[in-house]
Subunit: 189 residues, 2 copies
C-alpha cells in the first residue's frame, strides 16, 4: 500500500533499531479514512475466504480490524487482555509475553464468540515477534474455528513473527513490510 | 436509540444490580452496522460544534469513537492506559480508579495530539461513576483544548457519573439511559 508507506515515512519515527513509533497513525491517533482503506484492502485480499468473524487483540488493532469487519459485514471480536488470577470456564485464555512492554499478559476470548463453524480472519496492527499472535491463534485452534489467515498492517520482517507463522502454513498478508530500522532509517522491503 | 434498546434487551445480561454485561455488542464483540449507527447519531447530535478531534479511552470505546470520527471526518485519539512509574514529559497523564476492575490506572495522551485550538468530542461506551471520564476531561483541560461535550452509548443514570459532569456544565448525550438493574431486570429511563 503506497499511501501507507508515504504516511509512515512522514509520520512515524524510529525509536530504536527494533521499535518504530506509530503513535500518529496507528497506536494512539488514527485517521479514519486511511484506516478505512486498510480495511478495504484486507477485505479484498481475503474476499474468497467466506469469513464469518474478524478477531483482534485489544487495543491498537481495533480500528483496522473494525474497518475490515465493516467491509466484510461480519462481527468483530476483540480479545481482552486480562489481569486475572482465576481461569474463567467460559473463556479461552492464553498467556503471552509482550515485546514492547516487556511484560506478560493473559489474552482472553469468551467461548460464546468463537464457534467451530466460524471462519476467522485475524487482523492486527503490527507483527514483530508474533507472541500475541501465537497466543490468539492457539485460542482459535482450541475453539475449533478455522483460521483463514492473518492480515497485519505493518510487518517488521527483520523479526521472526510473520515468517514463523508462514512456516506453520498460516497465510499472513501485510500491507507494508519494514525490512530494517537501522541507523534511524525506515527501509521497506 | 430504539434499535440499541432492543439489542440490549436481547443480548445484554444483568450481572449484579450495578453491572450490565455488554460483551455481545460493546465490550468484546461488536456489530459494525450497529456501531456505525451509533457513530452517525453522535455526529448528528454534535454536528454544529465544529469538532476537530474525537477522543476516547482504550479499549471498548474505540469502535464507536471510530465510527463517530469516520462520520465527522476528523482524527480519533485514544488515550492509553499505562502501567508506568515514570511521568512522560511529552504526555498528559491522570490517575483514575476503575469501577468494574477495582484497580487504579494511569491514562495518558501525547501532547502532540491535543492542541489548544482543538475542539474535542469525547466518546465512550459506558458511563457509570465517571472516574475515567473525569480523568480524560482533566487532560483535555490541561491541554487548553475545548471540550464540546461527551457522547456515551449507555448511561447508567442510577450512578453519579453523567449527572456530575452535567452539573459541571458539560454537555453529555447518551444514546440509552439505564435507570435500574434491580432484580436482574434492565429498566430504561
Amino acid at each position: 500500500m503506497d499511501l501507507l508507506k508515504q504516511r509512515i515515512l512522514k509520520e512515524a519515527s524510529v525509536l530504536t533499531s527494533d521499535v518504530l513509533r506509530l503513535d500518529a497513525l496507528l497506536n494512539h491517533q488514527v485517521d479514519p479514512e486511511l484506516t478505512m482503506e486498510m480495511g478495504k484492502e484486507f477485505a479484498r485480499l481475503f474476499a474468497e475466504e467466506h469469513v464469518t468473524k474478524i478477531i483482534t487483540v485489544e487495543s491498537s488493532g481495533i480500528p483496522v480490524a473494525f474497518t475490515t469487519a465493516q467491509e466484510m459485514k461480519v462481527p468483530l471480536v476483540f480479545a481482552r487482555r486480562k489481569k486475572t488470577l482465576i481461569a474463567d470456564p467460559d473463556s479461552y485464555m492464553e498467556r503471552v509475553p509482550s515485546f514492547t512492554k516487556g511484560i506478560v499478559t493473559d489474552i482472553m476470548v469468551s467461548k460464546q464468540f468463537l464457534k467451530p463453524e466460524d471462519r476467522v480472519l485475524f487482523i492486527d496492527d503490527i507483527i514483530a515477534n508474533g507472541d500475541a499472535a501465537r497466543g490468539l491463534i492457539k485460542i482459535i485452534e482450541r475453539s475449533g474455528a478455522t483460521l483463514v489467515g492473518m492480515g497485519v498492517v505493518i510487518e517488521k520482517s527483520f523479526q521472526v513473527g510473520a515468517r514463523t507463522l508462514r512456516e506453520q502454513g498460516i497465510r499472513v498478508e501485510s500491507l507494508v513490510r519494514v525490512a530494517s530500522l537501522d541507523n534511524g532509517e525506515i527501509r521497506f522491503e
